[in-house]
C-alpha cells in the first residue's frame, strides 16, 4: 500500500545518525539512527516517556545534540558542535500541546507561517481560512485558543503546520484529541501532500492502530533507543522481542514445540508469539473460555488451552460465555528471536 514516489536519487529528507540528547546529565535519546525518505511517513511508536517528543525537538533544532548528527535534505542541520536555526530548517511541527499563541486568533495563527514566508497579510489570511475550513473550523477563525475546545485547538495547530508547506512534517501525537472522522480526513490530506510535494513525515504516537494505519515504516522507540524498524505488518507480525510484541498489540506466548498445532511459522521448540487474530474457533485444540470482552467491532476471548493461555479476537458480539468449553486452532505463530 505504500505509495512512495521514486525519489531514490535524492538525499533522504531526514537522516538521524547516532543522535544523543540529554536533559541535564541524563541521556534521554541514546544513539538513535533514523532515515526518512521523501514522500515517506515514518511512525515513531513508543510508550509514554520513551523520548518521542525529545527526538522531534532535536530534529527541529530546539535541543542540542550531545553526539551524532542530523541531516535534513542531505544537509547537516545539527551536530554536537553546530546547529542550523530552527526557522532555517525545512520543517513544520505539530506540537503535542499545540503551542498555540494565546494572543492570536485561529486565523492569524495559521497565517503566521505564511506571513513569515513573505505572503501579504490578505493572501496569508485567505490561505489560512481555507486551511481552517479544510479542518472544519472555518467558523472559529476569530477565536483565540482559550475559547476553543481541545480538539479545535489541536486542529489550529495542525493547520499552522500545514500552512508552512515544508519538506518534512514533525507530528507529535497530532490526533490525540481528534475523533475518527477528523483523523481520517487529516490522514488523507497528509497523504495527498506527501504525494504532491514529496514531503516526508515523522508521526510520533503511542497508539498502535494509528501507527500501523498511517505509516510506511514504524520505528519502535524504548527508553530513547530504537528497538525495531519495520513495515507495519512486520512490526505486528514479526516483533524482535517480547517488549516490542507487547507494544504493538495484544500478545500471548507459548513455549515449546507448536508443530503439532499445525500453525504457519512453527519451527521446532522455542518461544512463540500468538496474536489474537491468529487464533480461530473450531479446530482440534480444546479451550476453556476464561474471560470475554466485547469491544464494539470485535470481541476478545481469553482462553486456557493445553498450549497455555491464548487470546482470540473475532469480529462481532460475543458467541461464548465465561466457563464454556470449546475448540480452537492456532493458524499462525511467530518464533521469537532468541537473543537481543
Amino acid at each position: 500500500m505504500t505509495e512512495r514516489p521514486t525519489v531514490t536519487t535524492l538525499a533522504p529528507a531526514v537522516s538521524v545518525r547516532g543522535a544523543v540528547v540529554n536533559y541535564g546529565d541524563a541521556a534521554v535519546i541514546r544513539g538513535v539512527d533514523l532515515e526518512v525518505a521523501r514522500g515517506e511517513t515514518v511512525a515513531l511508536l513508543g510508550p509514554s516517556g520513551s523520548g518521542k517528543t525529545t527526538l522531534l525537538y532535536a530534529i527541529a533544532g530546539f535541543l542540542p545534540l550531545v553526539d551524532g548528527e542530523i541531516l535534513l535534505d542531505g544537509r547537516l542541520a545539527s551536530s554536537s558542535t553546530s546547529s542550523t536555526a530552527p526557522e532555517q530548517r525545512p520543517l513544520a511541527m505539530v506540537f503535542q500541546h499545540y503551542g498555540l499563541w494565546p494572543h492570536l486568533d485561529a486565523i492569524d495563527t495559521v497565517a503566521y507561517p505564511l506571513r513569515r514566508a513573505g505572503r501579504t497579510r490578505s493572501a496569508a489570511r485567505a490561505e489560512a481560512a481555507e486551511l481552517l475550513d479544510q479542518l472544519h473550523i472555518g467558523h472559529l477563525a476569530a477565536r483565540r485558543p482559550a475559547e476553543l475546545s481541545g480538539g479545535e485547538q489541536q486542529r489550529v495547530g495542525l493547520a499552522r503546520a500545514l500552512a508552512r508547506h515544508p519538506s518534512v512534517y514533525l507530528l507529535d501525537e497530532p490526533t490525540a484529541h481528534l475523533d475518527t472522522v477528523l483523523k481520517t480526513g487529516l490522514q488523507t490530506e497528509l497523504a495527498a501532500r506527501m504525494h504532491a510535494d514529496g514531503a516526508a513525515a515523522i508521526h510520533a504516537t503511542h497508539d498502535v492502530d494509528e501507527a500501523l494505519a498511517v505509516a510506511d515504516r514504524v520505528v519502535l522507540l524504548r527508553d530513547g533507543g530504537v528497538v525495531q524498524v519495520d513495515k507495519p505488518r512486520d512490526v505486528y507480525a514479526r516483533p524482535v522481542d517480547e517488549w516490542a510484541a507487547g507494544l504493538t498489540g495484544p500478545a500471548a506466548f507459548i513455549v515449546g514445540s507448536v508443530e503439532a498445532a499445525g500453525a504457519d511459522g512453527a519451527d521446532g521448540p522455542g518461544r512463540y508469539l500468538v496474536r489474537p487474530d491468529w487464533v480461530r474457533f473450531g479446530g482440534s485444540l480444546p479451550a476453556t473460555v476464561e474471560d470475554v470482552r466485547y469491544r464494539g467491532t470485535h470481541t476478545d476471548y481469553r482462553l486456557s488451552t493445553t498450549l497455555g493461555p491464548l487470546v482470540l479476537r473475532e469480529p462481532g458480539p460475543a458467541r461464548f460465555r465465561v466457563g464454556e468449553q470449546t475448540d480452537c486452532r492456532v493458524e499462525r505463530v511467530w518464533r521469537m528471536p532468541t537473543s537481543r
Binding site: 527541529a60 536555526a85 526557522e87
Partner: protein, 560 residues
Amino acid sequence: MADRDVLAWTRRLLPPAALAVAAGLLVVVPLTVLARTALEQGLDVLLDAVGAASPAILASVWTSLAASALALLIGTGVAVLTERTDVPGRRGLRLAMLLAFIVPGYVAAMGWLSAYGPGGFLDDTLGLAAPALLGPLGVVVVMGVEASPIVYLIVVAGLATRAEPDLERAARASGAGPTETFRTITLPLLRPVIAGAGAIAFVLSVTSFGVPAVLGIPAGFSTMTTSIYRDLAFSSDPGSFASGVGLAVVLAVGAALLIVLTDRLMERRRTERSGAFSGPSGHIGTAPRGSVEHADGGSPRRWRALAAGTVAWLLVTLVVILPLLGLLVTALARAPGLAPLPSNWTLDNFREVLNAHTWEALANSVVLATGAAIGVIVLAGLAVLARRGHGAGLTGGLLGLTFALPGSTLAVAVLLAYGAALRDTLAIILIAYLAKFWALGYRPLAAGLDAIPADSYRAARMSGAGAWVTARTITLPLLRPMIVAGGLIVFMFGIHEVTMSSLLYGPGSSTLAVVVLNLQQYGDNGLTAALALILAVIVAVASLPLLGRTGVLGRVGWRR
C-alpha cells in the same frame, strides 16, 4: 459542627474584610480628608488654580509620556538581553540596572549634570558637554532612565512567569527568526506586564519633583510638581495651601483615570494562557542556557550577541555608570569647580556622612522599607485576588489614586487623617508608604495573573481547596517572580523615599532620605553624592547573590 461552620465563615470572610478595611484606611479616608481640604476655598478657586496651572500640567503629561516610553524601551530591552540571550556580561548589566534604581531622582539628576552638564567632568576631561540636559529633553531623559529599572524588574519577572517555551518554538518552526519571534510572540504576550510597568513609570514621572527641579528650572521649564511647590512654598495667601492640595488631587485623579483607561483596554486584550504548560524547559529555540552555544549555529549568532551586548553596555555606561561617576567626582571633590584630579580629592564628604545620625536613619529606613515591602505585597496580593471577582477596574483606579498623588500631598492627607493619634511615629510613615506603594505591588501582580491558565485554579478547587486556599497555594506561588519584583521595587522606594518621610518624621523616626535632604538644602552636593554612593554600594553588595546565572528573578521563578 457549628464551630467549624463559624471557623469556615471567618476564614472565608477574613481576607475580603481585611482588604476592605485596608482600602478604607489607606485610600478612602485620606482621600476624603484631602478632598475636603481642597474644597475649603470653594470649587471656583480650585478650578481657577487648575486653569492657571494648565500649561504646567500639559508639560508634566508630555514629558511623563515621553519618559515612560523611554523607560519602557530601556527596561524591556535590557530585560530581554539579560534574561533571554547570551550576551556577555549579563550579570554586570543586571547590577547596573539595580544601581540606577537606588539613586534617588534628584541625586541622579545631579549626577547627570556633573557628568554631562557644562563644566561636568566629561567637559573638563574631553570637552564633551550636553547643554540640552538642562530643559525638557534632559528632564525626559533622566526621568526615563530613572524609571527604567522598575520596568526592567517587572519585565524580567514577567518573562519568568510567562515562560512558555513551546510558544516561541512554534514561532521558530513557523519560520520566524529570533528577533521576529520576539516581536510577534514574546512581546505581545508580555503586553499586560509592559502596560503595568508603563503605568507605573508614567505616574512616577508625573509625580517626580527632583528631576524637573534640578534640570527644568534652570531652563525656565516648569512642570506640575515644581509649580505646585512654588505655589505652596512662597505664598502669603492662606488659601494657597488648599489650592495646592486641590491641584495635586486633580493631578492624581487625572492619572488614575488614565490608568483605568489602560486597564480597560488591557482587559479586552487579555491573553490568558490556555491548555497545558507546555514544552520542556530550557532556552527557547536554542540550547539550554549554559550549554555550548548551539542551536542557532556558530558565529553569526555569536556576533549578534556580541553586538547586542556592546550596545547594551554602551547604553548602560552612558545612562548609569557615567552619572554615577559624576556623583563620585562630586563626592570626592574638595570644592566645586576644581579639576577632577586626585590632588583635589578628599574623603571628607564620606567621613562626614557616616555619622551616628546616618546609621540611625538607615536603620529606620530599612525597617520602614521592609515593612512597606511586606505590607504592600500582602495588600497587593489581597487586591489581586479580589480582582478576579468584581470591581477589578475600581481597585486598580483606587490604588492608582493614592499612587499618583504627589508624595507631599499624600503625606498631608495621612497627617490630616491620622496625625492626631500617630504623629511623629514610624507607624504614620508606614501608613503613607503603604498607601503610596500599594499600586507598585498591585500592578505587576495583576499583570502576572494573565499567565496562569484558568485550569490551574479549577484543578485546585477540584482538589478540595477553597478560593483563598487556592490563592495561597496556587495563585501566589505562581506569581512569585512578580511578588519578588514588586517587593524589591517597594523596598528600594522605601529606602530612598524623601518627600513623605520628610514631612512626617518626628524625633527618632527620621529616615535616610531625610538625612540626605537635610544635608542638601543649602548644603553640599558633595555630601549628598557621598551618601547616595554609599547607599548604592550597600545595595550592590546586598544584591550580589541575586545576580547569578539564573538572573535577578530567574531563581524565584517556578521553572528550574
